[in-house]
């Protein structure tokens, strides 16, 4: 099995989906000849032609709206937004149309679309290229929001997203596009959406993260093990609808929880997880639920961005604190 980077796994899944299903269409800015600014769509246009791998005009609202129209006609469009910072013009289409086309027509029209976008800070990119506002999407009923954290999961979850009969926003953590490698078999096997992945078992504390933050979270778990703290690490993977049971089961076992995300703290998705536990897992809690997150400020430009991102140290400190609590 070949070792692939996460972005190569995305590419592989796209190629696989397009080969398997003539209805799959890829569209976005620079996805054609150029193969995408991160090369996620490299080679697809040569293989599937410019009508199935469409270089769109520079218009994000359009891309999302095209997806809705194509999907209503039974295509399976996979739109690419170049960076999450440019996804905001799509929110109108996502909230007012994509997420509710099935509901408002009571199943007459459906919207099997995927909107992919690289997201997150930490790649020394210019302004507006470091967004991680996934919670804005995860609040929207009718959408699915999926975030892979490894090449294998990128492949399997993207295939699942494309095959899913409903709209999926697929957020690809830029910071680990090439930073992690993994064996990926091109077997066309999708991974389940709606299921969180327990990446590491442990009984002292539950660490929950998604996307690029798994890197720091797993590193923290390693280092905590050296200190005698056995951390369970959960990759939430699908944020909407999310897998409550895996979280609750883990916290029932460990009694302690740290949620890690790079998005701003206030009303980030970590709040939802903490709220879930405060509501349904309170009796198992042996310590407050800690949130290790980005700060409530604008993500700074590269010179300071590393200070913005949750570090291994911050995750460890929070884990130690909840483990040592009470």
């Amino acid at each position: 099995m070949p070792e692939l980077t996460l972005v190569e796994a995305v590419n592989l899944a796209l190629a696989r989906a397009m080969a398997d299903d003539a209805d799959v269409v890829v569209l976005g800015e620079d996805v054609g000849v150029n193969g995408g600014v991160f090369r996620a769509t490299a080679g697809l246009q040569r293989r599937f032609g410019p009508e199935r791998v469409v270089d769109t005009p520079l218009a994000e609202l359009l891309i999302s709206g095209l997806c809705v129209g194509m999907a209503a006609q039974g295509l399976k469009p996979v739109g690419e937004i170049q960076f999450m910072g440019f996804l905001y013009p799509c929110i109108d289409q996502l909230v007012n149309h994509a997420s509710r086309l099935r509901h408002r027509t009571q199943g007459r029209l459906t919207c099997p679309m995927v909107l992919r976008t690289p997201y997150g800070a930490g790649i020394r990119a210019p302004e507006h290229h470091s967004e991680s506002t996934e919670v804005m999407l995860a609040h929207i009923p009718g959408l699915r929001v999926v975030v892979p954290s490894s090449p294998e999961r990128a492949y399997g979850l993207l295939l699942a997203a494309i095959r899913d009969p409903d709209p999926v926003v697929f957020l690809e953590p830029t910071r680990i596009y090439r930073a992690v490698k993994g064996e990926v078999e091109d077997d066309g096997e999708a991974l389940p959406l709606d299921v969180a992945f327990v990446l590491r078992e442990g009984r002292d504390v539950t660490l929950i993260a998604w996307g690029a933050m798994l890197k720091e979270t797993l590193a923290a778990a390693d280092a905590l093990a050296d200190e005698g703290i056995a951390a369970e690490v959960i990759d939430l993977a699908t944020l909407k609808p999310y897998d409550e049971e895996t979280i609750l089961a883990s916290v029932a076992k460990t009694g302690r929880c740290v949620v890690v995300h790079e998005a701003a703290r206030t009303a980030g998705f970590g709040a939802e997880i903490a709220a879930l536990i405060a509501e349904r897992g309170l009796l198992s809690l042996l310590a407050p639920v800690a949130r290790v997150t980005g700060y409530d400020t604008i993500v700074p430009l590269p010179r300071l961005e590393q200070h913005y991102l949750p570090s291994v140290d911050r995750v460890m400190a929070a884990a130690r604190k909840v483990v040592g609590f009470g």
């Binding site: 269409v25 005009p57 609202l61 359009l62 095209l66 039974g74 408002r104 199943g107 409550e244």
Partner: protein, 354 residues
């Protein structure tokens, strides 16, 4: 043209554009020029006429239902029936309609049942699961946001080489939205089988056209997207139908998109939640009644001896009856169980919500 930049100097003109205005019938129904060939088909003209009258009967009834608390907010198409009917009548069943919220006439023409439209405005999602062509879009409320869908639909036709056309209707206000712009631009690039119809009824709620845009016509907005626009007299159903027919045929033949600006007038309030007297003088509205489409076509039909008082009375009675029957079916539609609000949220309700 003398104020174009550089016109005082000898800079070459590198592009020229013009916009024409199509009309066949004067407000009094008199032909202004040779009529389009379909006008020789009297049955068709009568069908257009019936469609407009049915729509008006339906609209007025819907307002009455709203006033008596039996319907939610409702948007009448009073005075604009020719636009929706003219366009819809030029479409094939396999074509896809992407209407605005004021296109009752088009929906009715395409087979949506009156009780379904009432159900929708009465606050029940089942109204959108309608008896029209299953691929048609429902009313679109966020203004202009259906235009990118239309481009996506038309793209699908192009990709699959299906001889189908998407037809997207919106108002003058909608032309100010970036959504419409982005969709038109994309349609131009890919020469999509897509006809845009701007229903220029002069008002966007209280905002008059001159505060909406400085462009002399809405038709010329297509120039920006690299294709042709045409203005038609939107109170002349023959003009609307002819322009739509041509545009749809051209689009089907691979000629790319076209924009039709249908100039008409919103004789009614914006919706039942609006009171237009607050912002426009009744005299303006009064004057516009002289141009409205139903009387116009009737005058023409009468002049052709194809219509008369008895037919009119019979049609009125028939429309009334059909509308009443639909209203009864609407009012008889039972409530839904509250938990149906989770139906069709996803193809399958995720376990976590169950």
């Amino acid at each position: 043209m003398d104020d174009t930049p550089g016109s005082g100097q000898d800079f070459p003109v590198i592009a020229r554009f013009e916009v024409r205005r199509r009309s066949y019938l004067a407000p009094d129904g008199a032909p202004l020029r040779a009529l389009p060939s379909f006008a020789s088909d009297l049955d068709l003209l009568l069908a257009l006429y019936r469609g407009m009258v049915l729509t008006r009967t339906f609209d007025l009834k819907a307002v009455a239902l709203q006033r008596t608390g039996r319907l939610g907010t409702y948007a009448v198409s009073l005075g604009q029936e020719a636009v929706s009917i003219g366009v819809a009548s030029a479409m094939r069943e396999a074509d896809v309609l992407l209407p605005s919220y004021r296109d009752n006439a088009a929906l009715l023409w395409r087979g949506v049942k009156m009780e379904e439209i009432l159900l929708y405005w009465g606050g029940d999602e089942r109204g959108n699961c309608s008896s029209g062509p299953p691929h048609d879009f429902p009313f679109c409320v966020p203004v202009g946001s259906q235009a990118p869908h239309a481009a996506g639909v038309a793209y699908a036709f192009r990709l699959r080489k299906e001889p189908r056309v998407a037809v997207c209707l919106f108002g003058d206000g909608a032309t100010s939205k970036g959504d419409v712009w982005e969709a038109m631009n994309f349609a131009g690039v890919w020469k999509l089988p897509l006809v845009f119809v701007a229903n220029n009824n002069q008002w966007a709620i209280s905002v008059p056209l001159k505060l909406q845009t400085a462009s002399a016509t809405l038709a010329q907005k297509a120039i920006a997207a690299g294709f042709a626009g045409e203005q038609v007299d939107g109170n002349d159903v023959l003009a609307v139908r002819a322009a739509a027919e041509e545009a749809i045929a051209a689009a089907r033949a691979g000629g790319g998109p076209r924009l039709i600006e249908a100039v008409t007038y919103r004789l009614g309030d914006h919706t039942t939640a609006d009171d237009a007297a607050r912002y426009r003088p009744p005299e303006e509205v009064q004057a516009r009644w002289k141009e409205e489409p139903i009387t116009r076509l009737r005058s023409y039909l009468v002049s052709r001896k194809a219509w008369g008082k008895s037919q009119e009375e019979q049609l009125a009675a028939e429309c009334q009856e059909r509308v009443e029957a639909a209203v009864e079916r609407y009012l008889a539609t039972g409530p839904r169980a509250p938990q149906t609000m989770f139906d069709h949220l996803y193809a399958e309700l995720p376990a976590v919500y169950a």
